[in-house]
Protein backbone atom coordinates (compact mmCIF):
# COMPACT_ATOMS: atom_id res chain seq x y z
CA UNK A 1 0.00 0.00 0.00
CA UNK A 2 1.56 3.30 -1.03
CA UNK A 3 0.93 6.64 0.61
CA UNK A 4 -1.76 7.64 -1.89
CA UNK A 5 -3.83 4.60 -0.95
CA UNK A 6 -3.33 5.42 2.70
CA UNK A 7 -4.40 9.05 2.18
CA UNK A 8 -7.51 8.07 0.20
CA UNK A 9 -8.35 5.52 2.89
CA UNK A 10 -8.01 8.10 5.65
CA UNK A 11 -10.15 10.63 3.81
CA UNK A 12 -12.83 7.98 3.19
CA UNK A 13 -12.86 6.96 6.84
CA UNK A 14 -13.12 10.63 7.81
CA UNK A 15 -15.98 11.38 5.40
CA UNK A 16 -17.90 8.21 6.29
CA UNK A 17 -17.26 8.65 10.00
CA UNK A 18 -18.44 12.25 10.06
CA UNK A 19 -21.44 11.52 7.82
CA UNK A 20 -22.47 8.52 9.92
CA UNK A 21 -22.06 10.40 13.15
CA UNK A 22 -23.98 13.35 11.66
CA UNK A 23 -26.94 11.01 11.13
CA UNK A 24 -26.66 9.65 14.66
CA UNK A 25 -26.03 13.00 16.31
CA UNK A 26 -28.69 14.91 14.45
CA UNK A 27 -30.79 16.79 16.95
CA UNK A 28 -34.45 17.52 16.70
CA UNK A 29 -34.18 21.14 17.72
CA UNK A 30 -37.64 22.09 16.56
CA UNK A 31 -39.44 23.64 19.49
CA UNK A 32 -42.94 22.35 19.98
CA UNK A 33 -44.44 25.81 20.12
CA UNK A 34 -45.94 28.23 17.64
CA UNK A 35 -45.01 31.88 17.70
CA UNK A 36 -46.72 34.64 15.79
CA UNK A 37 -45.64 38.26 15.72
CA UNK A 38 -48.76 40.35 16.13
CA UNK A 39 -47.33 43.83 16.47
CA UNK A 40 -44.03 45.60 15.79
CA UNK A 41 -43.71 49.11 17.09
CA UNK A 42 -41.25 51.42 15.34
CA UNK A 43 -40.08 54.77 16.68
CA UNK A 44 -37.25 56.94 15.40
CA UNK A 45 -36.69 54.46 12.57
CA UNK A 46 -35.85 51.72 15.06
CA UNK A 47 -37.86 48.79 16.32
CA UNK A 48 -38.80 49.45 19.93
CA UNK A 49 -41.18 46.62 20.86
CA UNK A 50 -42.37 43.37 19.34
CA UNK A 51 -45.55 41.71 20.50
CA UNK A 52 -45.55 37.98 20.00
CA UNK A 53 -48.17 35.35 20.67
CA UNK A 54 -46.67 32.02 21.76
CA UNK A 55 -48.72 28.85 21.83
CA UNK A 56 -47.43 25.94 23.88
CA UNK A 57 -49.45 22.84 22.93
CA UNK A 58 -47.33 20.44 24.99
CA UNK A 59 -48.10 19.24 28.49
CA UNK A 60 -44.83 20.72 29.78
CA UNK A 61 -44.30 24.37 30.62
CA UNK A 62 -41.77 26.28 28.53
CA UNK A 63 -39.18 28.71 29.77
CA UNK A 64 -38.06 30.48 26.65
CA UNK A 65 -35.19 32.80 25.93
CA UNK A 66 -36.38 35.23 23.32
CA UNK A 67 -33.46 36.20 21.16
CA UNK A 68 -33.50 38.82 18.51
CA UNK A 69 -31.48 38.57 15.30
CA UNK A 70 -30.92 41.19 12.69
CA UNK A 71 -30.18 40.02 9.16
CA UNK A 72 -26.53 40.42 10.06
CA UNK A 73 -26.00 37.51 12.38
CA UNK A 74 -23.43 39.35 14.47
CA UNK A 75 -26.21 41.48 15.80
CA UNK A 76 -27.87 38.77 17.81
CA UNK A 77 -28.77 39.74 21.30
CA UNK A 78 -30.91 38.39 24.08
CA UNK A 79 -34.19 39.92 24.94
CA UNK A 80 -35.91 38.25 27.80
CA UNK A 81 -37.01 35.01 29.37
CA UNK A 82 -40.65 34.15 28.68
CA UNK A 83 -42.50 31.50 30.66
CA UNK A 84 -45.39 29.83 28.87
CA UNK A 85 -47.42 27.35 30.94
CA UNK A 86 -48.46 24.00 29.46
CA UNK A 87 -51.19 24.04 26.81
CA UNK A 88 -51.48 27.78 26.98
CA UNK A 89 -51.14 30.65 24.56
CA UNK A 90 -49.38 33.67 25.98
CA UNK A 91 -48.98 37.05 24.37
CA UNK A 92 -46.00 39.08 25.45
CA UNK A 93 -44.54 42.39 24.38
CA UNK A 94 -40.78 42.35 24.23
CA UNK A 95 -38.92 45.61 24.57
CA UNK A 96 -35.83 46.43 22.62
CA UNK A 97 -32.85 45.52 24.77
CA UNK A 98 -30.50 48.31 25.70
CA UNK A 99 -27.57 46.71 23.98
CA UNK A 100 -28.95 46.56 20.47
CA UNK A 101 -30.34 49.00 17.97
CA UNK A 102 -32.71 47.61 15.41
CA UNK A 103 -32.92 49.73 12.26
CA UNK A 104 -36.39 49.25 10.93
CA UNK A 105 -35.31 48.60 7.36
CA UNK A 106 -33.70 45.33 8.40
CA UNK A 107 -35.33 41.97 8.03
CA UNK A 108 -35.37 40.55 11.51
CA UNK A 109 -35.93 37.33 13.35
CA UNK A 110 -37.11 36.39 16.75
CA UNK A 111 -35.78 33.09 18.02
CA UNK A 112 -37.45 31.42 20.95
CA UNK A 113 -35.06 29.04 22.60
CA UNK A 114 -35.57 26.35 25.20
CA UNK A 115 -32.24 24.66 25.84
CA UNK A 116 -31.16 23.18 22.51
CA UNK A 117 -34.59 23.60 20.95
CA UNK A 118 -35.67 26.70 19.13
CA UNK A 119 -38.24 28.14 16.80
CA UNK A 120 -37.78 31.18 14.63
CA UNK A 121 -40.20 33.88 13.55
CA UNK A 122 -39.04 36.04 10.66
CA UNK A 123 -40.59 39.44 10.25
CA UNK A 124 -39.87 42.04 7.62
CA UNK A 125 -40.62 45.76 7.48
CA UNK A 126 -43.82 44.96 5.59
CA UNK A 127 -45.14 43.34 8.80
CA UNK A 128 -44.47 46.37 10.95
CA UNK A 129 -47.50 48.03 12.43
CA UNK A 130 -45.80 51.40 12.45
CA UNK A 131 -44.30 52.50 9.16
CA UNK A 132 -40.53 52.61 8.99
Amino acid sequence: MNKHHLAVGLILVWVLGLSGSAVMMHEDTKLDATATVTNVNVEDEHVQTVTVSIENPSSDPLSLTAQFWRDDQFSQANWAVVDVPAQTTRTVTLKRPNRITVPCEKTTQLQLIDGAKRTTVVFTPSNYTTAC
Binding site: A22, Q67, Q73, S75, N78, R99
Partner: protein
Protein backbone atom coordinates in the same frame (compact mmCIF):
# COMPACT_ATOMS: atom_id res chain seq x y z
CA UNK B 1 -4.45 28.94 -32.51
CA UNK B 2 -1.73 28.23 -30.05
CA UNK B 3 -0.90 31.10 -27.77
CA UNK B 4 2.74 31.11 -26.88
CA UNK B 5 3.65 33.29 -23.96
CA UNK B 6 7.18 33.13 -22.67
CA UNK B 7 7.99 33.22 -18.97
CA UNK B 8 8.93 36.91 -18.95
CA UNK B 9 5.89 38.17 -20.78
CA UNK B 10 3.66 35.96 -18.64
CA UNK B 11 5.30 37.50 -15.61
CA UNK B 12 4.63 40.99 -16.99
CA UNK B 13 1.05 40.11 -17.84
CA UNK B 14 0.52 38.70 -14.37
CA UNK B 15 1.86 41.86 -12.72
CA UNK B 16 -0.29 44.09 -14.96
CA UNK B 17 -3.38 42.03 -14.22
CA UNK B 18 -2.77 42.31 -10.49
CA UNK B 19 -2.52 46.08 -10.91
CA UNK B 20 -5.90 45.90 -12.67
CA UNK B 21 -7.41 43.92 -9.79
CA UNK B 22 -6.04 46.45 -7.30
CA UNK B 23 -7.52 49.29 -9.36
CA UNK B 24 -10.91 47.53 -9.27
CA UNK B 25 -10.62 47.25 -5.51
CA UNK B 26 -9.77 50.95 -5.19
CA UNK B 27 -12.81 51.82 -7.30
CA UNK B 28 -14.93 49.72 -4.98
CA UNK B 29 -13.55 51.35 -1.82
CA UNK B 30 -13.88 54.75 -3.52
CA UNK B 31 -17.53 54.00 -4.28
CA UNK B 32 -18.19 53.21 -0.62
CA UNK B 33 -16.57 56.47 0.42
CA UNK B 34 -18.57 58.33 -2.23
CA UNK B 35 -21.75 56.90 -0.69
CA UNK B 36 -20.80 58.64 2.55
CA UNK B 37 -20.39 62.10 0.98
CA UNK B 38 -22.00 64.75 3.11
CA UNK B 39 -21.82 68.47 2.26
CA UNK B 40 -21.08 69.18 5.93
CA UNK B 41 -18.00 66.97 5.91
CA UNK B 42 -15.23 67.44 3.34
CA UNK B 43 -13.36 64.22 4.14
CA UNK B 44 -15.43 61.73 2.12
CA UNK B 45 -15.35 64.08 -0.87
CA UNK B 46 -11.55 64.33 -0.77
CA UNK B 47 -11.30 60.59 -0.11
CA UNK B 48 -13.41 59.83 -3.16
CA UNK B 49 -11.22 61.96 -5.41
CA UNK B 50 -8.02 60.42 -4.03
CA UNK B 51 -9.25 56.84 -4.32
CA UNK B 52 -10.66 57.19 -7.85
CA UNK B 53 -7.57 59.09 -8.94
CA UNK B 54 -5.27 56.48 -7.47
CA UNK B 55 -7.28 53.69 -9.10
CA UNK B 56 -6.87 55.38 -12.49
CA UNK B 57 -3.11 55.78 -11.98
CA UNK B 58 -2.75 52.13 -11.00
CA UNK B 59 -4.84 51.09 -14.00
CA UNK B 60 -2.72 53.27 -16.26
CA UNK B 61 0.44 51.62 -14.95
CA UNK B 62 -1.15 48.24 -15.66
CA UNK B 63 -2.38 48.95 -19.18
CA UNK B 64 0.93 50.50 -20.20
CA UNK B 65 2.71 47.36 -19.03
CA UNK B 66 4.70 49.02 -16.27
CA UNK B 67 3.40 47.09 -13.25
CA UNK B 68 6.30 44.65 -13.14
CA UNK B 69 8.71 47.53 -12.74
CA UNK B 70 6.53 49.69 -10.50
CA UNK B 71 4.52 47.13 -8.51
CA UNK B 72 6.33 47.87 -5.30
CA UNK B 73 5.84 51.62 -5.62
CA UNK B 74 2.12 51.04 -6.23
CA UNK B 75 1.91 48.91 -3.11
CA UNK B 76 3.81 51.44 -0.97
CA UNK B 77 1.50 54.21 -2.16
CA UNK B 78 -1.42 51.97 -1.27
CA UNK B 79 -0.08 51.46 2.25
CA UNK B 80 0.46 55.22 2.54
CA UNK B 81 -3.13 55.91 1.46
CA UNK B 82 -4.38 53.32 3.95
CA UNK B 83 -2.33 54.98 6.65
CA UNK B 84 -3.78 58.39 5.79
CA UNK B 85 -7.27 56.85 5.75
CA UNK B 86 -6.66 55.35 9.17
CA UNK B 87 -5.34 58.66 10.49
CA UNK B 88 -8.42 60.47 9.19
CA UNK B 89 -10.66 57.89 10.82
CA UNK B 90 -8.78 58.18 14.08
CA UNK B 91 -9.06 61.97 14.11
CA UNK B 92 -12.73 62.07 13.15
CA UNK B 93 -14.13 59.02 14.89
CA UNK B 94 -12.15 58.93 18.10
CA UNK B 95 -14.49 58.12 20.90
CA UNK B 96 -15.46 55.42 23.26
CA UNK B 97 -17.71 53.37 21.01
CA UNK B 98 -16.79 49.71 20.80
CA UNK B 99 -17.50 47.61 17.72
CA UNK B 100 -17.18 44.28 19.49
CA UNK B 101 -17.31 42.96 23.02
CA UNK B 102 -13.78 41.63 22.46
CA UNK B 103 -12.49 45.20 22.03
CA UNK B 104 -14.42 46.31 25.11
CA UNK B 105 -13.16 43.38 27.20
CA UNK B 106 -9.56 43.99 26.16
CA UNK B 107 -9.81 47.62 27.17
CA UNK B 108 -11.47 46.90 30.51
CA UNK B 109 -8.98 44.10 31.19
CA UNK B 110 -6.05 46.39 30.41
CA UNK B 111 -7.49 48.96 32.84
CA UNK B 112 -7.76 46.28 35.53
CA UNK B 113 -4.16 45.21 34.93
CA UNK B 114 -3.00 48.81 35.33
CA UNK B 115 -4.90 48.85 38.65
CA UNK B 116 -3.08 45.67 39.67
CA UNK B 117 -6.10 43.38 39.35
CA UNK B 118 -6.57 40.08 37.53
CA UNK B 119 -9.13 40.55 34.72
CA UNK B 120 -9.78 36.80 34.43
CA UNK B 121 -11.54 36.83 37.79
CA UNK B 122 -13.76 39.82 36.98
CA UNK B 123 -17.22 40.12 35.47
CA UNK B 124 -16.23 42.65 32.84
CA UNK B 125 -19.75 43.96 32.31
CA UNK B 126 -19.71 44.97 36.00
CA UNK B 127 -16.51 46.94 35.31
CA UNK B 128 -18.05 48.55 32.24
CA UNK B 129 -18.14 52.35 32.58
CA UNK B 130 -18.37 53.50 28.95
CA UNK B 131 -21.50 54.80 27.28
CA UNK B 132 -21.25 52.43 24.34
CA UNK B 133 -21.97 48.74 24.74
CA UNK B 134 -21.24 46.47 21.80
CA UNK B 135 -23.24 43.42 20.83
CA UNK B 136 -22.63 40.72 23.38
CA UNK B 137 -21.66 37.11 22.71
CA UNK B 138 -24.78 35.15 23.63
CA UNK B 139 -24.76 31.81 25.37
CA UNK B 140 -27.24 29.00 24.92
CA UNK B 141 -28.53 29.38 28.46
CA UNK B 142 -29.66 32.90 27.71
CA UNK B 143 -26.71 34.66 29.30
CA UNK B 144 -23.83 36.44 27.65
CA UNK B 145 -20.06 36.00 27.84
CA UNK B 146 -18.89 38.44 30.47
CA UNK B 147 -15.29 37.40 31.14
CA UNK B 148 -12.04 37.70 29.22
CA UNK B 149 -11.96 34.89 26.63
CA UNK B 150 -8.47 35.20 25.13
CA UNK B 151 -4.94 34.56 26.31
CA UNK B 152 -3.46 37.50 28.18
CA UNK B 153 -1.30 38.76 25.31
CA UNK B 154 -4.39 40.09 23.57
CA UNK B 155 -5.38 42.53 26.30
CA UNK B 156 -1.82 43.39 27.36
CA UNK B 157 -1.32 44.98 23.93
CA UNK B 158 -3.85 47.59 25.01
CA UNK B 159 -2.07 48.50 28.26
CA UNK B 160 0.11 51.18 26.55
CA UNK B 161 -3.05 52.80 25.22
CA UNK B 162 -4.47 52.91 28.77
CA UNK B 163 -1.25 54.34 30.20
CA UNK B 164 -0.88 56.94 27.44
CA UNK B 165 -4.54 57.92 27.50
CA UNK B 166 -5.33 56.70 23.99
CA UNK B 167 -8.84 56.20 22.65
CA UNK B 168 -10.55 53.57 24.82
CA UNK B 169 -11.62 51.34 21.95
CA UNK B 170 -8.05 50.51 20.95
CA UNK B 171 -8.32 52.06 17.49
CA UNK B 172 -4.72 53.27 17.47
CA UNK B 173 -3.31 49.91 18.58
CA UNK B 174 -5.27 48.10 15.86
CA UNK B 175 -4.35 50.65 13.18
CA UNK B 176 -0.65 50.45 14.05
CA UNK B 177 -0.53 46.64 14.12
CA UNK B 178 -2.47 46.27 10.86
CA UNK B 179 -0.36 48.85 9.07
CA UNK B 180 2.81 47.16 10.31
CA UNK B 181 1.52 43.87 8.92
CA UNK B 182 0.89 45.65 5.61
CA UNK B 183 4.39 47.13 5.65
CA UNK B 184 5.98 43.71 6.17
CA UNK B 185 3.85 42.14 3.43
CA UNK B 186 4.72 44.85 0.91
CA UNK B 187 8.36 45.05 1.95
CA UNK B 188 8.86 41.30 1.47
CA UNK B 189 6.98 41.12 -1.85
CA UNK B 190 8.73 41.03 -5.19
CA UNK B 191 7.69 44.02 -7.33
CA UNK B 192 5.66 41.93 -9.77
CA UNK B 193 3.17 40.81 -7.16
CA UNK B 194 3.44 43.53 -4.49
CA UNK B 195 -0.08 44.90 -5.22
CA UNK B 196 -1.44 41.51 -4.18
CA UNK B 197 -0.31 42.28 -0.63
CA UNK B 198 -2.84 45.11 -0.56
CA UNK B 199 -5.48 42.94 -2.19
CA UNK B 200 -4.97 40.33 0.55
CA UNK B 201 -5.51 43.00 3.18
CA UNK B 202 -8.49 44.68 1.54
CA UNK B 203 -10.39 42.48 -0.86
CA UNK B 204 -12.45 40.13 1.30
CA UNK B 205 -12.87 42.72 4.02
CA UNK B 206 -10.92 45.84 4.81
CA UNK B 207 -8.75 44.50 7.61
CA UNK B 208 -7.57 47.94 8.63
CA UNK B 209 -11.02 49.42 9.05
CA UNK B 210 -12.33 46.15 10.52
CA UNK B 211 -9.49 46.26 13.05
CA UNK B 212 -10.31 49.83 13.96
CA UNK B 213 -13.92 48.69 14.28
CA UNK B 214 -13.06 46.02 16.83
CA UNK B 215 -12.11 42.88 14.84
CA UNK B 216 -8.87 41.98 16.57
CA UNK B 217 -7.47 39.15 14.44
CA UNK B 218 -4.60 41.16 12.98
CA UNK B 219 -3.09 41.14 16.46
CA UNK B 220 -2.18 37.45 16.11
CA UNK B 221 -1.80 37.39 12.32
CA UNK B 222 1.07 39.90 12.40
CA UNK B 223 3.38 37.93 14.75
CA UNK B 224 2.42 34.76 12.88
CA UNK B 225 3.63 36.33 9.63
CA UNK B 226 6.87 37.33 11.38
CA UNK B 227 7.20 33.73 12.54
CA UNK B 228 6.76 32.46 8.97
CA UNK B 229 9.39 34.97 7.85
CA UNK B 230 11.89 33.67 10.39
CA UNK B 231 10.97 30.06 9.64
CA UNK B 232 11.73 30.55 5.97
CA UNK B 233 15.23 31.69 6.93
CA UNK B 234 15.66 28.64 9.18
CA UNK B 235 15.86 30.90 12.21
CA UNK B 236 14.07 28.38 14.43
CA UNK B 237 14.40 30.17 17.76
CA UNK B 238 13.21 33.51 16.42
CA UNK B 239 10.36 31.79 14.60
CA UNK B 240 9.36 29.99 17.79
CA UNK B 241 9.42 33.24 19.75
CA UNK B 242 7.08 34.93 17.28
CA UNK B 243 4.83 31.88 17.19
CA UNK B 244 4.69 31.95 20.99
CA UNK B 245 3.75 35.64 20.87
CA UNK B 246 0.97 34.90 18.36
CA UNK B 247 -0.29 31.99 20.47
CA UNK B 248 -0.22 34.19 23.56
CA UNK B 249 -2.70 36.50 21.82
CA UNK B 250 -5.26 34.10 20.37
CA UNK B 251 -6.05 30.41 20.58
CA UNK B 252 -6.40 30.01 16.79
CA UNK B 253 -2.63 29.81 16.50
CA UNK B 254 -2.40 26.77 18.78
CA UNK B 255 -3.64 24.54 15.96
CA UNK B 256 -0.44 25.28 14.03
CA UNK B 257 1.85 23.76 16.69
CA UNK B 258 1.35 20.00 16.00
CA UNK B 259 1.99 20.55 12.28
CA UNK B 260 5.26 22.28 13.04
CA UNK B 261 6.24 19.42 15.33
CA UNK B 262 5.82 17.00 12.40
CA UNK B 263 7.87 19.28 10.18
CA UNK B 264 10.67 19.48 12.76
CA UNK B 265 10.68 15.70 13.12
CA UNK B 266 10.78 15.05 9.40
CA UNK B 267 13.41 17.61 8.48
CA UNK B 268 15.92 16.36 11.03
CA UNK B 269 18.31 13.61 9.90
CA UNK B 270 17.48 11.55 12.98
CA UNK B 271 14.46 11.24 15.25
CA UNK B 272 16.64 12.31 18.15
CA UNK B 273 17.68 15.44 16.30
CA UNK B 274 14.04 16.18 15.51
CA UNK B 275 13.06 15.79 19.14
CA UNK B 276 15.86 18.14 20.16
CA UNK B 277 14.57 20.73 17.69
CA UNK B 278 11.05 20.31 19.06
CA UNK B 279 12.38 20.79 22.57
CA UNK B 280 14.27 23.92 21.57
CA UNK B 281 11.30 25.38 19.70
CA UNK B 282 8.96 24.49 22.57
CA UNK B 283 11.22 26.27 25.05
CA UNK B 284 11.41 29.49 23.02
CA UNK B 285 7.75 29.38 22.02
CA UNK B 286 6.76 28.47 25.55
CA UNK B 287 8.70 31.38 27.02
CA UNK B 288 7.02 33.82 24.62
CA UNK B 289 3.63 32.34 25.52
CA UNK B 290 4.18 32.23 29.26
CA UNK B 291 5.73 35.66 29.82
CA UNK B 292 2.39 37.46 29.34
CA UNK B 293 0.20 34.63 30.64
CA UNK B 294 2.01 33.13 33.61
CA UNK B 295 1.17 35.82 36.18
CA UNK B 296 -2.55 35.33 35.55
CA UNK B 297 -2.23 31.54 35.36
CA UNK B 298 -0.55 31.45 38.76
CA UNK B 299 -2.88 33.97 40.35
CA UNK B 300 -6.12 32.23 39.35
CA UNK B 301 -5.48 29.04 37.36
CA UNK B 302 -9.14 28.02 37.13
CA UNK B 303 -10.28 31.46 35.95
CA UNK B 304 -7.50 31.61 33.34
CA UNK B 305 -8.38 28.16 32.02
CA UNK B 306 -12.11 28.91 31.94
CA UNK B 307 -11.61 32.21 30.14
CA UNK B 308 -9.02 31.00 27.67
CA UNK B 309 -10.90 27.85 26.76
CA UNK B 310 -14.29 29.54 26.38
CA UNK B 311 -14.01 29.93 22.59
CA UNK B 312 -12.40 26.51 22.03
CA UNK B 313 -14.74 24.67 24.34
CA UNK B 314 -17.71 26.76 23.25
CA UNK B 315 -19.52 23.74 21.83
CA UNK B 316 -22.73 23.65 23.73
CA UNK B 317 -22.23 26.77 25.83
CA UNK B 318 -21.97 29.56 23.25
CA UNK B 319 -24.56 29.98 20.54
CA UNK B 320 -23.58 28.36 17.25
CA UNK B 321 -22.51 30.98 14.78
CA UNK B 322 -20.55 31.28 11.59
CA UNK B 323 -19.94 30.46 7.95
CA UNK B 324 -18.69 26.90 8.18
CA UNK B 325 -20.60 23.73 9.02
CA UNK B 326 -22.25 25.45 11.98
CA UNK B 327 -24.60 26.96 9.37
CA UNK B 328 -26.38 23.59 9.36
CA UNK B 329 -27.23 24.00 13.02
CA UNK B 330 -27.92 27.66 13.61
CA UNK B 331 -30.23 27.94 10.60
CA UNK B 332 -32.08 24.80 11.70
CA UNK B 333 -31.51 23.15 8.27
CA UNK B 334 -29.91 20.06 9.81
CA UNK B 335 -29.11 20.69 13.45
CA UNK B 336 -26.22 18.68 14.83
CA UNK B 337 -25.33 18.25 18.46
CA UNK B 338 -22.42 20.19 19.97
CA UNK B 339 -20.66 16.85 20.47
CA UNK B 340 -20.67 16.28 16.72
CA UNK B 341 -18.76 19.52 16.22
CA UNK B 342 -16.21 18.45 18.82
CA UNK B 343 -15.81 15.16 16.96
CA UNK B 344 -15.53 16.97 13.61
CA UNK B 345 -12.92 19.37 14.97
CA UNK B 346 -10.76 16.60 16.45
CA UNK B 347 -11.01 14.27 13.46
CA UNK B 348 -10.31 17.06 10.95
CA UNK B 349 -7.22 18.03 12.91
CA UNK B 350 -6.01 14.42 12.94
CA UNK B 351 -6.73 13.96 9.23
CA UNK B 352 -4.90 17.20 8.48
CA UNK B 353 -1.88 16.05 10.48
CA UNK B 354 -1.82 12.67 8.71
CA UNK B 355 -2.04 14.24 5.23
CA UNK B 356 0.59 16.79 6.15
CA UNK B 357 2.95 14.05 7.33
CA UNK B 358 2.33 12.05 4.15
CA UNK B 359 2.63 14.79 1.56
CA UNK B 360 3.68 18.28 2.49
CA UNK B 361 5.87 18.17 5.52
CA UNK B 362 8.95 19.53 3.74
CA UNK B 363 7.22 22.90 3.70
CA UNK B 364 6.39 24.80 6.83
CA UNK B 365 5.22 28.33 6.13
CA UNK B 366 1.85 27.47 4.68
CA UNK B 367 0.72 25.54 7.74
CA UNK B 368 0.16 28.85 9.43
CA UNK B 369 -2.96 28.83 7.30
CA UNK B 370 -4.24 25.55 8.68
CA UNK B 371 -6.30 26.95 11.53
CA UNK B 372 -8.84 28.26 9.03
CA UNK B 373 -9.47 24.79 7.67
CA UNK B 374 -9.86 23.32 11.11
CA UNK B 375 -12.15 26.13 12.26
CA UNK B 376 -14.41 25.53 9.27
CA UNK B 377 -15.90 22.63 11.21
CA UNK B 378 -16.01 24.48 14.54
CA UNK B 379 -19.24 25.29 16.36
CA UNK B 380 -18.36 28.93 15.80
CA UNK B 381 -16.65 29.87 12.54
CA UNK B 382 -16.74 33.63 12.32
CA UNK B 383 -16.08 35.48 9.08
CA UNK B 384 -12.98 37.15 10.51
CA UNK B 385 -11.30 33.74 11.02
CA UNK B 386 -11.28 33.19 7.28
CA UNK B 387 -10.57 36.72 6.09
CA UNK B 388 -7.50 36.85 8.31
CA UNK B 389 -6.13 33.84 6.45
CA UNK B 390 -5.73 35.84 3.23
CA UNK B 391 -2.63 37.86 4.15
CA UNK B 392 -1.22 34.76 5.87
CA UNK B 393 -1.90 32.67 2.75
CA UNK B 394 -0.33 35.36 0.57
CA UNK B 395 2.84 35.32 2.65
CA UNK B 396 2.84 31.51 2.60
CA UNK B 397 2.72 31.63 -1.20
CA UNK B 398 5.75 33.93 -1.24
CA UNK B 399 7.59 31.50 1.04
CA UNK B 400 6.53 28.53 -1.06
CA UNK B 401 7.88 30.16 -4.22
CA UNK B 402 11.03 31.27 -2.42
CA UNK B 403 10.12 34.74 -3.64
CA UNK B 404 10.58 36.77 -0.47
CA UNK B 405 12.36 40.02 -1.07
CA UNK B 406 14.33 40.47 2.13
CA UNK B 407 14.57 44.14 1.61
CA UNK B 408 16.51 47.13 0.57
CA UNK B 409 19.11 46.95 3.32
CA UNK B 410 19.84 43.29 2.74
CA UNK B 411 20.05 43.82 -1.02
CA UNK B 412 22.53 46.64 -0.53
CA UNK B 413 24.72 44.46 1.72
CA UNK B 414 24.57 41.62 -0.79
CA UNK B 415 25.43 44.03 -3.62
CA UNK B 416 28.53 45.35 -1.86
CA UNK B 417 29.61 41.87 -0.83
CA UNK B 418 29.26 40.59 -4.41
CA UNK B 419 30.95 43.70 -5.71
CA UNK B 420 33.80 43.09 -3.30
CA UNK B 421 34.06 39.48 -4.45
CA UNK B 422 34.06 40.51 -8.11
CA UNK B 423 36.65 43.24 -7.48
CA UNK B 424 38.86 40.76 -5.62
CA UNK B 425 38.45 38.17 -8.37
CA UNK B 426 39.28 40.74 -11.03
CA UNK B 427 42.30 41.84 -9.07
CA UNK B 428 43.36 38.19 -8.79
CA UNK B 429 42.85 37.75 -12.53
CA UNK B 430 44.94 40.81 -13.22
CA UNK B 431 47.67 39.64 -10.86
CA UNK B 432 47.71 36.22 -12.52
CA UNK B 433 47.83 37.85 -15.90
Amino acid sequence: VKIDISGDSLNDLSANLWAGVLAALLFQVGFRVWMAIDPANWLPAIGTVVLYGLALVVLLIGVTGQANAHGKKIAWIGIFVLGVGAAVLLFTKVGSSFGTDAALFNRLSAELVVEGRNPYTANLYEQHHYASTPFPTPKIDGGVVSSLSYPAGSMLLFVPSVLLGGPPNGMITMAVVTLLAGVVLVHDSPAAVAPVALIALLAAGNMLFAGIGGILDTLWAFPLILSMRAWRRDALCRAALWLGVAGAIKQTVWFVAPFLAIWLLQRAPTVRGGLQDIRQVSIYGGIAFLVPNLPFMLDAPQAWLTGTFTPLGGHGTLNPLGRGLSVLTWTGIYPLSPQWYTLALGSTLLLGLALYALYWSEETAWVAWIAGVVLFVHWRSLNSYFITLLPIAYYAMLCQADAIDYGYGRRAIRYWREKGTVDTAQADDRSHA
